[in-house]
């Protein structure tokens, strides 16, 4: 029997705002517990929730990017449960009227074919407080209580670990590039709960659903899903029942471990939040939120490709928003952004890797304008090797590229017609067989001769100028 996995994902995204969802306490990272707290966050009597405009703007932008139907009235509801992380005894969320519903995001499936993953809902809510558990007691820090959250719930349209990872990446790209969130899984600003079940291929019913938690990296998500599909398939094959439970991923052991059985759904006794009146969202407000949304990942990628970058170069730059910003600053007004991209992807990344300790572009000492200048040298005819020397000098001596050029005594070698002619003659004289091959119509011989010429020039001559001279000279011989 062919087995098909059915996967649905709930993503919680912490929104980047200055204040919290329903109170004006700062929404900022603090190492000191209980210092970003307003009376409302601790549920002091008499306090009232007031909705944060920016959180709504972020929600509208993400809903729009996910092709969702956007609610024209904001309604909030209470989710009631009694637990130490929730001082009010309920969480304010949007159960009955989510801000966004019925959308989709396009990903690439295992065969790299475009596939739409349908999204059921997107809603606003508040985060809980942070708990630290010790052997005999627990500690509560309310800094996180009330931080705005966006929850995005997919339909069970995902069928394997790779699709799950690509779906999460697509959502992360949207929230990060719309600047709604940092989207950092390892820091908890993007958290995923994954529901996995299996069924015979093509069946329309669902098997018992297992919920996976504690998935703090894309790698863990893929491994946990693959493990879970294999585990459930094995249960089925050996005639054992698959138990509906909540499991956590044990990274050290590389497997999922049961946390608790899901005997019956918890009744949260949802009801409309009486302390927040329905809020009408005007067309003008919704349109402005969408119109002022920063350029998103997909739009940037298309633009970079129109600028001449390959899809893989564009993806490398966009994998880090800070790298993309640096690229945009360094390539602004540049004749050939591809040169800037090459320098960034190859040389700058090599420098950052060498520096180690997770160094990223935000700590790169050279300003974008300097890299732009070095790229301009490259376009002006300096060789790649010369540009690398200039870059290394600038980093070593904290110098400007124009000073590096003088200090290193670098001159453009590729305009030296005599030098080019000399190399061409030497290469032709040394490779008579290739010359006759070329004349006999074997074009591959030219590539070989160009390679020999570049080698002979030892990086001081521009390869494209050299190739041109070689071709012209050979055509004269014909």
């Amino acid at each position: 029997m062919n087995i098909e996995a059915v996967i649905g994902i709930e993503i919680h995204v912490e929104l980047k705002t200055k204040s919290k969802m329903f109170s004006a306490a700062p929404n900022a990272f603090s190492k000191t517990p209980n210092t970003n707290v307003a009376p409302l966050d601790m549920a002091f009597p008499g306090t009232m929730p007031v909705v944060n405009r920016q959180a709504v703007v972020h929600g509208i932008r993400v809903a729009y990017a996910l092709h969702m139907e956007i609610a024209r009235t904001l309604n909030f509801d209470r989710k009631n449960y009694f637990y130490a992380d929730l001082p009010k005894g309920f969480q304010i969320t949007q159960r009955f009227h989510p801000l966004g519903k019925e959308g989709y995001v396009t990903i690439f499936d295992l065969q790299n074919q475009p596939k739409k993953i349908a999204i059921e809902r997107l809603h606003l809510e508040e985060d809980t407080c942070k708990q630290l558990h010790f052997r005999d007691y627990s500690l509560l820090d309310y800094n996180r209580a009330g931080v705005p959250l966006l929850e995005i719930v997919s339909y069970p349209d995902i069928h394997n670990g790779v699709e799950a990872v690509r779906y999460i990446e697509a959502i992360r790209n949207i929230v990060v590039y719309s600047r709604a969130s940092d989207g950092k899984m390892e820091e908890g600003s993007l958290r995923c709960d994954v529901n996995v079940s299996i069924r015979p291929q093509g069946a329309s019913f669902f098997g018992p659903k297992v919920e996976l938690k504690n998935l703090n990296s894309l790698k863990n998500i893929q491994t946990a899903i693959d493990y879970e599909i294999a585990r459930q398939s094995q249960c089925l094959a050996s005639g054992m029942a698959i138990v509906q439970d909540t499991r956590r991923y044990d990274e050290a052991k590389g497997k999922t471990v049961s946390m608790r059985l899901k005997t019956e759904a918890i009744d949260y006794k949802y009801f409309p939040e009486p302390n927040i009146l329905p809020i009408v969202l005007s067309e003008a407000m919704i349109e402005e939120a969408i119109a002022t949304c920063p350029e998103l990942y997909e739009a940037k990628k298309e633009r970079y490709e129109r600028m001449g970058l390959t899809p893989s170069q564009a993806s490398v730059l966009l994998s880090d928003p800070a790298m993309a910003s640096y690229f945009e600053a360094a390539s602004e007004g540049s004749e050939n952004p591809k040169t800037v991209a090459n320098l960034l992807i190859v040389e700058v990344n090599a420098y950052l890797n060498k520096t180690g300790n997770g160094a990223n572009i935000s700590r790169f000492p050279l300003p974008p304008v300097s890299l732009k200048r070095i790229a301009a040298y490259r376009e002006d005819g300096y060789t790649h090797q010369q540009c690398v020397e200039i870059l290394e000098y600038c980093l070593r001596e904290k110098a400007r590229p124009e000073d590096a050029l003088v200090a290193l005594g670098i001159t453009k070698a590729d305009n030296d017609e005599e030098a080019i002619a000399a190399v061409v003659e030497t290469v032709l004289a040394a490779n008579p067989q290739s010359v006759s091959d070329f004349q006999a119509g074997k074009d591959r011989a030219l590539s070989f001769l160009v390679g020999q010429a570049v080698k002979a020039a030892k990086g001081t001559l521009n390869p494209s100028v050299l190739a041109k001279a070689l071709r012209e000279r050979l055509n004269q011989e014909k």
């Binding site: 209980n34 307003a38 405009r53 709504v56 130490a84 005999d136 009408v280």
Partner: protein, 98 residues
């Protein structure tokens, strides 16, 4: 709708983790019975299918959203002043995870 009895109230109190005296249960039961009677009276009205349930007494809407400007938070001592027990600037609880 589930019938409200003293036992239902006791079960609810137990789930919500608070205690009441027998007299209080009787009083609450009487108040709820009076409310239930009123609801039963309403349910006798006919042709209500076309009406949406109301959450607020008047059909009021607003457009107000708070600007995203942080205000100074509570001082930590103030934030923790109601806590029965604290440790290292945090509220200390009996163990909540087994």
């Amino acid at each position: 709708m589930k019938e409200i009895t003293i036992d239902v109230l006791k079960d609810a109190a137990s789930r919500l983790m608070f205690e009441m005296t027998e007299e209080e249960y009787v009083k609450l039961f009487q108040e709820l019975s009076s409310l239930t009677a009123q609801m039963e009276a309403i349910s006798q009205c006919e042709d209500l299918d076309g009406y949406e349930p109301m959450t607020f007494p008047y059909p009021v809407q607003t457009t107000y959203l708070r600007e995203d400007e942080p205000l100074p938070p509570l001082k930590r001592e103030e934030a923790l002043s109601n806590a029965g027990s604290t440790l290292e600037g945090q509220i200390k609880l009996p163990k909540v995870v087994g």
